[in-house]
Each structure stands twice: as structure tokens, then as C-alpha cells.
Symmetry: D2
Subunit: 358 residues, 4 copies
């Protein structure tokens, strides 16, 4: 386990899906910052399973208790610990899964790494539920960034083969506002119905679909990020790949640049009408040589289809040494992309705050 | 700057393109390990500009001096410092570039971050030349891995629109050997001529092309990688994005998985003929939940076209506040993909050794 | 705040004296280790205020709830979070102390550092109460060490001017056992009555006394500790100085060596009757060049008199800008040395496990 | 080995006594800082063996070459690497010492830790010579601190039984200046002759003496230092115990406080004539609860007698398994205290800059 991350904000996550609780210790929130707990709860609600059409039928409020570090809603400067009790822990389902490995899940690696002593109920420490404390921490990071004029915003770039548009080079406040608070944030709102349909179809088939999330950090000045081992992209990608189901990360135009010539994709500099230095295009996604350029930091991630599906699959029983068939039961998300949006924003905020924080 | 990376092997890189020298301190090589310096030199030579058809006409031997940590070719257990003198440092070319920002280069971010005090000659600390010490360190990591039966191998997956095949699910020793020692390692050798042609064409036009490198870590047992913040993918991606020009990273099938349903891309487990637990496919690239599965760890990176091109470009002069035209001179690689191969392997080896090392 | 420490075991402490709770997240306990929670409770009880003659009249059970990482008493390999609720939090006493700085307490530094937003009730995060989670973590470290044949043991070396004997060069199992489980562990048991008397006298006067604790790590083989920045002494001292009231640390004969000549205090090597390499004396306290010698690692710490005394003291009122008199009320320990014993052992165990742990 | 230390300034030390060179990489010197290399050389000269009366007859200039990070005497913001060639490396003396362990030296621990592969010539990586790069780094830290009005100053507190006075509670600029530039900085200059005599006598006898160094950090404002694991004392002591021969560290009155009552040694607060908050005494050495109080940070260290003496000593021959006699030859310091002064100041400066640096 590597439960601790960060420098300016140091966060430590604990818990398993079915332990007494899960939570996070956040060290480094500056003393005196008034925290907006309604905003934190709203972020938590975006991630929590709500029984809605894009979610597992399971409902978990993800209500948190503040154990330390906050007095009268104001950060004291000392570590903030938030505890989320695990309440919805029907564990009768899991006996079968002690020895039968779920395909595309972490089960086998965990079993080897932890010699079989890990708690497998609900996926244990590999459960997507562990992203709840990260969203809590990220919601604080977002507030700290917002106070510096930096906004983190994301939209669904695709679900299965339904594609949204990409961010434009300039990301206006209007675009940011149009995405905030939406369950299905899309630049091209016309795709909403298609996305609902493709997810519903997967659910109906006991199957799942994946997709992409594009995220932008807007308002970050030039000059942040460390060359070499802590490039802006290094720190962002490191956290993004901590999110379950993320299998790829592109900055800016990413793979598309590999098909083009330098003269086609180099981002030309220019003074804009305010005299600010900007680039005409943003193929590099706002980062050059690991350092922010002043343009929006733009990246997207690939979210694989939810590994848990109801269709019968081939797998192994470690105890018996046999190849077996597995049909998962229980409650699963047909598409994790929707609930992953606040998680991606959370880790983006944490990563960027690492560079701009006090 | 964040010049130090790692835990089991801790490496610290120093130098600028035109400083007295560049180098690396490597802390953590186990005492008593006999190092194969010919192998290290061979790796260095793969990266060094050699004036050949895929390289800048500039030649730099990248000869290193061992300052510490090695006696009679054997590691002492104390930090190994390797120094590479900068010899080919014609610096007359750079006066123009003090205030005129090269498009898609790190110039502007560096200028802001370092308040203009950074050495701009040859790109200073943002120079691709700084990958030489990383290749040195990576060559040692490769030897340490090889002693554990783990091989790191890569091939060109594409240059511009010329595509090689991907690795098969099983990566045999035969495939590994067929790629080693090649200037243009390709699974589909028939693409070699096309790749030469597309690079030559870009060079002839004073332009550049990008491409992709696919890399595999073969022989890594299941159970390595830390859940959450130091997932195998997190540590790999973090180092990969430290390499100049890398703009995207995919593990396994990456983005392709987002178009598919779970039932199509989940990697089924099975016992193979030796009784080992394997997956039938490897869409997850050998990592699940951040932990190795025992299958090859497979990923690919997008390398953008070399930013330095001879064609005239639009940019800004920071000192005069004017939009200007810039035509770069000097010696530049038309395609950095070929020389990037040993760098990608080096950081992959360093990342994996972080998990399996003593 | 720097709430996280360590590598093999990474511990993160949270909480303030009067927050909802305090606790610790311990990352790195190997999967499959059966933890002895009775032993942990016994260590906690040594530290907890019990209303006895060496303690404040306040009683706090320091009962902990395990939130994660343990199933059926066995470590899962994932982070263990232990939560201790703050129950005995009479906070009416503290309004006076918002602006009036207690002499020799952390109040003023905290006020400046946290701009007055820190929780001052009970000393907030600077409270000695925060050593309870450290004792919890240390009790686990002790069990992990014990399984490797390494014991951590301590005794009172002095209280005020009453002095115990120092450890002999050889520390036998008999000596170790004679000290374990004692409220007042002393090598020279004849000093027990004197110590009770000097503490009682201080209490009767509304005053306090300090003292020294000598601690030994027995059974640690030679070769542990890192030269240079993570010497055995560096890591031990770093943690020891995290314990409130510790003002000095000596290894082996420490200051006494500065009065002697090399020929008098150099520790000669010899083969003992078992053919083991030992030293005839242990003036260097089992560490040379930062590395363990195989002899017991012996050190002692100075614990200053409890800063909280009932006698009237001079101080300042920051709000009014006036020099004022202060008479503390409430419940305070006349001598913190006794309750500090398990804390010193805890941090010693954590420090040593850093080197010998998996 | 743990060759890297720090956060604001991250320093990495490499080299052995008789390797090609020793040196340091310093990452984090802010871009644009004009470095005073004469001052750095002066610090290096204080530490270097000069053949004088307090030193080994060996002379080493400790001349350094700047490999990176500095242009025209100004820091670029990128890592500064300084290389010191080892020139005076008569290695014929060392064959005897391969198997015969020098008492009170690191030989045995190194041999076990590095399985005999470490370079033993001149003590290898455990040589006091490795403090030269630390002095280089510390000299830079001192300049960075000085620009913030913070001065680091030290004096000899004792040699053998000759004692200097301690710093007064207030440390004036006059006192600081009176100590700077002195070979034997003493508050009570009348002790100089006695110190010369006690060192000469030890040298004449082929023996050695130890002593104490008291150091003060003057001008550090209140509020620096992190509670808990990175207390000011933790970070200082951690670095101090990295210095060979340091066996004890006291802050303020240290051990003397353990003999006193709280009412006698608590440091009362008061507003001074300028309206600043100060303490009447400084028994706590300028640190409370791990945080600076605004008073001088004062500590002293015990330096043991030089382990290398010419008198015959008992020891072991590991290869033959026999107890043997050893008479060291070569060139050794009779008292390392004098040359240790700049080293103690260097690590103090590095530690304090960790808290106040950019």
C-alpha cells in the first residue's frame, strides 16, 4: 500500500470497502481558510452511488465526520481527518470470491501481494469506494485553487463510441459554468441522449461500457511545474493512474500529434490583445518541458469498461487449481465514467495545488 | 527543478546542455554487483547523436567518467556518480533565443519559472541531452532487473502514419532478441523502409515527425506495485512524462478499451499448460488495481514531432513585446523517436526496479 | 504540521487535545501478522493518565477503535487506522489562554505559525496527548521487532537529582525482564522511594521536575543504519525530538566522551566466547558511522520539567500588549518522565524498524 | 547509503575518500541569487586539513569545480554540482585494514552492511572528508539565510576539560563578529592557550581529545518548525548526527534542565523595550513544541575524541578470526573539534533553511 501522497497538501487514505470506515487525513490546509462544506458534500454526492440510471442501485451517502483540524468551519492548520463510516456492507456475497478471481479486477494481484490476508469483501482496499476520501481532499484542493483564480473542470469526452467535442483552445467562463453541476457534462449537449442510450443498453445486457473524460485546469499561470522528475505531467499522471479503471492519459492532442509534422502541431506563441503571451493552438495541453505555459492544462483519460459484469466469464479458482466459469451477482455500475468525473477533477486539483500551494 | 527521483535506486541528475558537464548520482546499487560497462556504453550509444540518418548531424560521444561508488567494476554500495563532460558546445547560436521563444519548447516556462536566470544555451536544463544520465542509470537498472529474470524491451510502434504491429499477448524470448540491438526495432520488419522514408522526407522539408514507442517489461511476477498512490502505472507514467516530448501514455489496449464493452475486453484468467495463472488477453497491460498480474507490463508512449524545425514559425519576442517570425538554425533531429527508445526503456527499468529491488 | 513519518512503516498522526478524536494511520504492517492487542492496550495504559501518584488526576482510557487494516486480529497489509475519541474535554478553562502565553509551552510559536487559528484547548495539536497514537504505532513496531529477536527496553535514568545506574555494556534478558511491566523501571531499585519523594514534593509545591530516560535496543545485528543522512542516530534522534519535552539526546557515553582521550573511550573489538564480534565497552552506544555495531543501541534523553506548573509566572498578553502574571489551573503531571517511558520506547521501535523492516 | 537530504534545498553527496572525486548536487538554490564563492572557499578552508597545529599534517585544498547550475556566479535555479577531486590519496597504507577493524570507527558496520565491497581506503564513504561537500552546501545555505537576516555562528564550548562560557541569552552582533573568522572561536578568549595545550599534549602522546561545539542561529523569527515529526529540533538533530563523531545534542540548557524544577527553568515571556515578545531566559534554546520562539536557536554537540590514535589498541582480524593488536600509522587529527566547527554550522544552516527557504 502506498496510502500517502503529496507535499503541499499531504493526503493519507485509509479503509477498505467493508471495514469500519474509510477516510483521509489531509495535512497542509493553510490555517484560517474557511472551508465550504456544502461544496464538499456536493462533490461527494457526484461520486456517491445514488441508485440513478448511471449508477449501481446501491446507495451510500458518503457522509463524513470531521475528526480533527477544523474549528467552526475554519481550517486550524493541523491535519484534517474525515471519516466515512461503511454502512452498506452486505458481505454475504463474497465467500465465493475468496478463491475465484474476477477478470480485470485487482483480486489476483492483491492475493499474491498480501498473501491472501487482504479483505476481499467489496474489493477491499481496491474498491472504487476508496475514491470517496480522495474526492473529499480534492474538493478542498479545488477551493484552495479557486481562491487563486484557478478552476478545474471536466466533461465526458466519450462513452463507448459516442463522442463529445474537445475543449476549444480558449476555455471561457461560460463553458466552465455550462459544465458545472451537470450529471452529464458535455460540450455538445446534443450527445446526452446517445450516451444515456448506450449506457442503458449495456446495463440491459448485464454488460458495461467505458469512455473518456477530458479535464482542464483553467487560470494556471505560466511557470509552474518542475523540470525533470516532477513535471506537471508527471505529477498529474501519477495521480490519475491511481484512480481505478484509468488506463491511458493524453495531454493536449496527445496521440494525434504523433501523426502530424512539427510544423502542423507546434503551438505558436503570440501576444494576445491584452498583451499576454498565449499560444494560438494548445496541442501541448498547456505544458511544455514539464512547466505550465499559461494556457489551460488540458488532458484526457481513458476509463475502461467496469470490470464487474453479469455475463458469464472464464476464470480460475486458485484454491482448486481449476479453470472455472464466473457469473457475478450484486450491484454494479454499467459505466463508471459518470461517477469518475469528480474523482478526475479531485486528483487534478490535488496535483496542481502541489505546485501552486503555500 | 526536481532532480532527484526514486527509493530503491535514488537518482539525482544535474547539468545543462552547455554547462561544464552533466551527470547522475545513483544511490542504492547493491554492494557487490558486477556492472557491465560495455552494456552501459552500448545503451548510451543508442541515445547519443551519431550524425546518422535519424539523428542530428551533431556528434557527442557521451563518454562518462566514474567519480565514485565503483571499484574494479564492482558496485561498492555507495553512491555512483557518473560525469559526462559537455564538449560540443558551440554557443554562438543562442543569443537570438534569449528573448525569442521557440514554439513548443520549454523556453517560455523556464523563463518565467527561473526569472530569466536559466542557461538557455542548447535548451539548458530542458535539453534532451539530460536524458543521457538517465540512460546511464537505466542501463544499470536493466542489469539489476535482468539478474532477476526481468527484461525491458521496446519497439517503434509508429512514425507519423507508418504503423508497426503491437506486441502479442505472449512476448517470447525470440521476439525480445529480435528487437535488441536494432537501430529500428520493429515487430513487422517490413515497415523499416517506410519509416526511413517518412523521416527523410521530414528532414528534407526542414520539418519533423513524431511517433509512438511500445515497451514491455517481461518476466515481472504478479504482486508488484502498490495500490493507490504508487500503482505500477503511476510510477511508470510519472517517469515516462519526465522524458521530453512524451505527451501520452497508454497501458495495454488503453484508449481502445473505451470503445468496447466489458465482456469484450475483460482479461479472462486461466491456468496455462504449466499450471501458471495467466490471462488469455492482456488488454490491461499486465497491471490491475496498480499491481502486476504476472503478464508482461505493456505500455506505449506518444512522442511528439521534434519541436525544433527549420521552417519559419510565428512567435514572440518577450523583450520587445512584439510578435515575430523565427527560423531556427543549427542541428536538429528530424524524428526523436529512434533515439528515445533507450530512454523509454531506461525509465521503465528504473520504475520497475522501484518495486522489485532490494 | 508534519504529521507523516517513515518508510517501512509510514505513520500519520491526526487530532488535537479537544477535537472529536485523535488517531494514527499506519501503513506498512506486513499482511498476515497477528497483532497482540492486549500488548498494545498495555502500552497505551502505561502512557495514559490514570490519576495515580505520577500522573495528572485526569483519567483518559485512550481506548481505540480500529477503523481499517485489521481483520480477525490479523493485519491485512493495508493501512491500519486507529481512532481514539476525546472524551474528557472540559474546555471551559481555556478562554484565558487565548492571549496569555504559557511559559515554556508551544503556545506562542503555534499562535504565530497558525495565525491564531489553531485550537488552543488543552494545548491543541501540541498536547502531550498526541503521543497516544504514537504509542499505538510503536507498540506494533515493538511486536514486529520482537519477532526478529529485537527488544526495546527503557528505565528512568534520573528524576531531578536522583540518579539510577546506567545500563551495563551487556544487557541481559534478566535485566530486560526486570524492567518490563514496572511503573518505575529502575536498574537500581533502591532509588524508587527517592524518586517517589522528589515527585511528591514537586507536586505539593505546585511545581514540577524533569529527568532522564535511558533506552536500549537489544538484539539488533550489526550493519543496520545508513551512512550520512539516515544514520541510525539521525533517525532515532529525529523521532526522539518529536516527543514533547525532550531537550537532549546522548548516544552511549555521549558528553562524557568529550572529557576523555581516545585511548580511554575507544571501544575495542574482540571475539567473545561464542566467536561473535563484540566491543569490550560500549561508549559509542552501539552505533559507529551511523551503522549498528551489533552491541545494544543505547541512548538517553533529557525530559524537561513539565512546563505546566501552578506557581505564578511572568508572561505576556498578546492581545493587550501587556506583561502579566499567570497562575495555571487544572490538572497537570508533576513529572512527565514516568508516562514518557512508553513514548520513548515507541519512537525507538519505529526508528529501528525503519532499518530492519520488510 | 542515504546520500540525499532535504526539501527546500535538496542535497546529494557522493564520493569516497580515495575515489576519483567527492562532491555534492544542490537542488533548490533560487534562480538569480549571486553566490559569494570567496565566502564558500573560506568555509571550505576552515574545514580542510591544513597541516596546522589542530590538524592532521595532510594538506588537501578541497578545491571545487562547478559542473552545473551557476552562470557568471549567479544561480540558474537548476541543480548546482560541485566536484572536489581527490588528489592526496596515498593508498598503500590500507592493505592492513581490510580485515583488521579500527576501534570506534565505522569499519565493521560498513563491512557487514556492504558485504566487504566498500572501499576502505581512507575510510571510504565514512571518511570525515565527506563533510567537505556538506560545508560547500552549507556555505550556500548560510548566504541564503544571511539575506534573510539570519546568522549561524558557533564556538568551541570545551575541549577535554577546558570549558568556554556558554552563549548569553541575548547574542549580540558584537559577539557574532568576535567569533567569525577565528580558528579557535571562544567566548572566553582566555581559554585559548589552555585549549592549544590540551590538544598538543594529546598529539604528543599519539592520542586524541574530544570536545563540544555550541552553535546559535540568530535572527530566526518565531513560528518556524513543524510540530510533530519535523520539529526544528528533529531536523537539526537529524543532520547533526549525520556528522561523524557527533554523539550527543543538547538544545538550550538540555540536561541541566532535568536537575531543576519547572519554576526554575521555565522561560518567562515578556515584551522587551521594543515591544517584541522575548523570553527572559532561553533554557529551551529558542524552540518550544518544535517551533522557533524568536529567541536564538541554541544547541551544542558532543564530538568524541578522534577515533584514530597511534597508541596500540585491541581489536579483531575478521579474516583470521583472531584478537589482535593494532597500531595505526599515517596522518590523523589529534582533535577534530576545530575542523568540525564549519561542518556544524553548515548543517545548522541547511536545517534552518529547510523551514525558512523559498
Amino acid at each position: 500500500m502506498s496510502a500517502t501522497w503529496g507535499k503541499k497538501l499531504k493526503i493519507t487514505v485509509f479503509g477498505e470497502s467493508h471495514s469500519e470506515g474509510i477516510g483521509v487525513v489531509i495535512d497542509g490546509v493553510p490555517a484560517g481558510v474557511k472551508l465550504d462544506f456544502d461544496a464538499i458534500k456536493a462533490e461527494m454526492a457526484r461520486r456517491a452511488p445514488n441508485g440513478g440510471e448511471f449508477s449501481t442501485p446501491r446507495k451510500e451517502g458518503d457522509e463524513f465526520e470531521l475528526l480533527s483540524g477544523v474549528m467552526d468551519g475554519v481550517a486550524e492548520g493541523t491535519p484534517i481527518c474525515a471519516l466515512i463510516r461503511n454502512t452498506n456492507t452486505k458481505s454475504s456475497d463474497y465467500s465465493q470470491l475468496r478463491d475465484v478471481m474476477r477478470p480485470s479486477h485487482a483480486d489476483y494481484g492483491y492475493r499474491i501481494k498480501y498473501a491472501g490476508f487482504n479483505d476481499i469483501r467489496g474489493g477491499g482496499a481496491s474498491s472504487g469506494r476508496l475514491t470517496a476520501p480522495i474526492v473529499f481532499a480534492g474538493a478542498i484542493a479545488k477551493q484552495l485553487l479557486s481562491a487563486k483564480g484557478i478552476e478545474v473542470v471536466s466533461h465526458i469526452l466519450s462513452v463507448a463510441d459516442v463522442e463529445d467535442k474537445r475543449f476549444e483552445t480558449e476555455i471561457t467562463g461560460e463553458v466552465i459554468n455550462s459544465l458545472k453541476g451537470k450529471t452529464l457534462p458535455l460540450i455538445d449537449g446534443g450527445k446526452e441522449e446517445n450516451i444515456r442510450r448506450v449506457i442503458s443498453a449495456a446495463r440491459a445486457d448485464g454488460d458495461s461500457v467505458g469512455g473518456r473524460i477530458e479535464c482542464a485546469v483553467v487560470g494556471l499561470p505560466a511557470g509552474f511545474g518542475d523540470p525533470m522528475f516532477e513535471s506537471m505531467e508527471s505529477v498529474l499522471s501519477s495521480l490519475l493512474f491511481s484512480v481505478p479503471a484509468v488506463k491511458a492519459v493524453e495531454f493536449g492532442s496527445g496521440y494525434a500529434m504523433t501523426k502530424a509534422r512539427g510544423s502542423e502541431v507546434n503551438d505558436s506563441w503570440q501576444f494576445d490583445k491584452n498583451g499576454d503571451v498565449v499560444t494560438k493552438t494548445n496541442n501541448n495541453g498547456g505544458v511544455l518541458g514539464g512547466i505550465s505555459t499559461g494556457m489551460p492544462v488540458v488532458f484526457n483519460v481513458a476509463i475502461k469498461p467496469t470490470a464487474s459484469i453479469f455475463k458469464e466469464q472464464d476464470t480460475v479458482n486458485i484454491a482448486t487449481g481449476e479453470n472455472v466459469k464466473l457469473s457475478l451477482k450484486g450491484r454494479h455500475d454499467p459505466c463508471i465514467v459518470v461517477r469518475a468525473l469528480p474523482v478526475i477533477e479531485a486528483v487534478a486539483a490535488l496535483a496542481v495545488y502541489q505546485f501552486v500551494g503555500e
